[in-house]
């Protein structure tokens, strides 16, 4: 279990991470979301002890990282997908890290197989694609079998098949009982495999909880194209629904689901040509949350 408490990082007085607190639970995948520059990587580096926080602390299983007898066996991370010596061979890199982590060297070829890199074992890392490097970085992080795995934008450079593989792998790791924290700036990607989400913007927490909760608070929007949009619009308003946008023969409706709208159209005997629940609702919610947040300094400056 990971607990981040009041984590703050300032560079020359400017906060890049500002009093951030959240937790990630064992056996679940926690998505760490935020737009580019929100402070995700800095937060992850502070969790892994690579960046010194200005304030706050990180507890892993109730203790700070350095208080563990073998910190490397407690947390592992996938950072900077391309962080390898380009001249080293793939298998050499994993064998080296296995030795450094104090695990059986036989685990290196086993993990190469798990991440689908066994055919490239003798290749030099400099010749690998970005996607293959991401797979190798994941294999390296899995060597120590640490109970906490943190991955910073692990989907970068992966093709659709690679993304599918990554989702399955992270779910498997969570099912094995590990705490998995995965950062991304892409909500759609996270929606497919995360159990919980932590959303930050300008270094500050804007939402935290099960992804279902974030989904539940969104305003449901439905697009409906029909033979008589004017009459249907009036009927929908009469039933308390909101017409968010009127685009001639197509309406964007809020406050109801597709089923309700379909039934109202049936009662009014209006032919429906298209009826779609807006898939972007969650994304709009996410964009709204991150756009609303301001840096603390700016928020304070705006106060009377």
């Amino acid at each position: 279990m990971l607990a981040v408490e009041g984590l703050t990082k300032r560079y020359r007085g400017e906060a890049v991470v500002d009093d951030l607190s959240f937790s990630a639970t064992a056996g679940r995948v926690t998505g760490f979301l935020g737009p580019n520059g929100a402070g995700k990587t800095q937060t992850i580096k502070m969790i892994l002890g690579l960046v010194q926080p200005t304030a706050g602390r990180v507890l892993i299983d109730g203790r700070e990282l350095l208080d563990h007898a073998r910190p490397g066996a407690v947390a592992s991370g996938v950072l900077d997908g391309g962080a390898f010596h380009p001249g080293r061979r793939v298998l050499d890199e994993l064998s080296l890290q296995a030795f450094a982590a104090g695990v059986c060297p036989d685990r290196a070829p086993e993990l190469l197989d798990r991440v689908g890199l066994a055919p490239a074992a003798r290749a030099r890392i400099g010749t690998l694609s970005l996607g293959m490097r991401q797979r190798l970085a994941l294999a390296r992080a899995l060597l120590s079998d640490a109970p906490l795995l943190i991955a910073d934008e692990p989907a970068n450079g992966l093709d659709p098949a690679g993304m599918h593989w990554l989702r399955q792998l992270l779910r498997e790791l969570a099912e094995e009982g590990k705490t998995v924290l995965v950062s991304s700036h892409l909500l759609a990607e996270m929606e497919r495999f995360a159990d919980d989400v932590v959303v930050i913007a300008h270094g500050r927490l804007v939402a935290d909880g099960p992804i279902g909760e974030l989904r539940a608070v969104r305003e449901r929007l439905v697009r409906v194209r029909c033979a008589n949009a004017r009459v249907l619009g009036a009927r929908l308003r009469a039933r308390g629904l909101t017409i968010v946008a009127d685009e001639g023969d197509e309406l964007v409706v809020g406050g109801g689901d597709a089923r309700t709208i379909g039934e109202i159209a049936l009662l009014a005997q209006i032919a429906i040509h298209r009826l779609v629940e807006d898939e972007d609702g969650l994304e709009e919610r996410y964009l709204a949350l991150t756009a609303e947040a301001q840096p603390r300094d700016a928020a304070e400056a705006g106060r009377p």
Partner: protein, 239 residues
């Protein structure tokens, strides 16, 4: 610590640039030695010249150490090392020890080749070895000490700059420019500076301001000061 040192040695073993520098440091003095031997004017100074030539690997060891350390920061692979061992001073000390081991091995091989060729050449010419066995052993030990301290300093410079070019520049600046300026400006530095200490290690025959152990102590001491600076820089750094 032993595991960390072995890991660092393994890192050096598995990259080509380390092997290239190792080969350069070991073999480069050999053709120079052969050319020098063909043009010997004073046989009495031949052995000393060859020992001085054998000190070239000390510089290469410094460069190898600086590159190995700084490149970890440039490639950002240092994050992996620090995730496994967050006590960063241990990682840097392990790097310095590994580089020192490689530097000593390089210097030993270079000495064996260069002095071996010199011995064959001198005996073919019918000349005699100018030094006693003790003096020769002392000079070889001096070369090995210089290689080790240079490697430790190189690691420290790599940690301070975290940039390959910067580390090499610092290594050259400290060894040649700063040392040269200080020696030119201050008589006391000419007598007791780093050049005087290294002369005490490499030149067993003349009398120096330092004895051999004192010279070794000065060189080891200064390299440990550099290492402490390197550790301080790395401990504070966000990576």
């Amino acid at each position: 610590m032993m595991t960390l040192v072995l890991v660092e040695l393994e890192k050096l073993r598995t990259v080509r640039s380390a092997w290239l520098l190792f080969a350069a440091g070991t073999l480069l003095p050999l053709p120079i030695a052969i050319v020098a031997l063909t043009q010997v004017s004073d046989p009495a100074t031949t052995v000393q010249d060859m020992v001085n030539l054998s000190a070239v690997p000390a510089l290469v060891a410094g460069a190898l150490a600086a590159v190995a350390c700084a490149r970890e920061f440039e490639h950002r692979t240092i994050t992996v090392a620090f995730m496994l061992e967050p006590r960063r001073e241990r990682v840097i000390v392990a790097k310095a020890l590994a580089a020192a081991i490689v530097g000593v091995a390089m210097a030993a091989l270079c000495c064996a080749l260069t002095l071996g060729v010199t011995a064959v050449w001198i005996s073919a010419d019918g000349g005699g070895w100018a030094w006693s066995g003790g003096e020769t052993a002392k000079a070889i030990c001096g070369v090995l000490v210089l290689a080790a301290v240079s490697a430790i300093a190189g690691t420290a410079f790599g940690g301070v700059t975290r940039h390959v070019g910067g580390a090499i520049t610092l290594l050259i600046a400290v060894n040649f420019v700063v040392e040269g300026l200080l020696a030119a400006r201050f008589q006391v530095w000419r007598d007791y500076g780093l050049d005087a200490a290294s002369d005490a290690l490499l030149e067993p025959a003349p009398t120096h301001a330092y004895t051999f152990p004192a010279g070794a102590g000065v060189m080891v001491g200064i390299s440990l000061v550099y290492l402490a600076l390197g550790i301080a820089a790395v401990r504070r750094a966000d990576v």
